[in-house]
Amino acid sequence: GGIITQTPKFLIGQEGQKLTLKCQQNFNHDTMYWYRQDSGKGLRLIYYSITENDLQKGDLSEGYDASREKKSSFSLTVTSAQKNEMAVFLCASRQGTGQLYFGEGSKLTVL
């Protein structure tokens, strides 16, 4: 079986700082996703990518950049961290028939 690896698991930054989260998958899936999970709000789609070098904005893309330089990796950058950015960020990849496979998440704390 495959695995989604997110790094770092915990990221602490300062307000206004640029912060980057990384995601690697070895499923050989074409499509990858970044979701933000806030308590009581579920998962909200930030960016997704259907192939290498492709980027598609989701519902919450403002304040974020993404990069898909290789099929196996997908990075997310918080361009200027704000105190209300404390959340868990989940990376996922998609099997052809629609099922998503998720990483364990990266928890962001902004001081």
């Binding site: 579920g42 998962l43 259907i50 989701g58 996922a92 629609g98 099922q99």
Partner: protein, 113 residues
């Protein structure tokens, strides 16, 4: 775009009782529907999915869900819950030809011993 509503933020049931977690979706076309479970400090795992055919789909650990098109619903059920079922459950919808699944807010299930 499609959307999902899970009206119950928290549900508490006793061990051995039956369970229904509600999910309603909004999408005018043919939906792909999913239920995922998230155990503490873990990522989401698929419980079951519906693409077409029999509207009642079976999943792992005795869970099932029924697609009711007329009601735009995809409620999750289990006949008898176990304490280990305590987790957060997410309903998700994806359009037939779209790559961006949308998730509901989740329902936190607590099972009392």
């Amino acid at each position: 775009a499609q959307s999902v509503t899970q009206p119950d933020a928290r549900v508490t049931v006793s061990e051995g009782a039956s369970l229904q977690l509600r999910c309603k979706y909004s999408y005018s076309g043919t939906p792909y529907l999913f239920w995922y479970v998230q155990y503490p400090r873990q990522g989401l795992q698929l419980l079951l999915k519906y693409y077409s055919g029999d509207p009642v789909v079976q999943g792992v650990n005795g869970f099932e869900a029924e697609f009711i098109k007329s009601n735009s619903s995809f409620h999750l059920r289990k006949a008898s819950v176990h304490w280990s079922d305590s987790a957060v459950y997410f309903c998700a919808v994806s359009a037939y030809n779209n790559n961006a699944p949308r998730f509901g807010a989740g329902t936190k299930l607590s099972v009392k011993p």
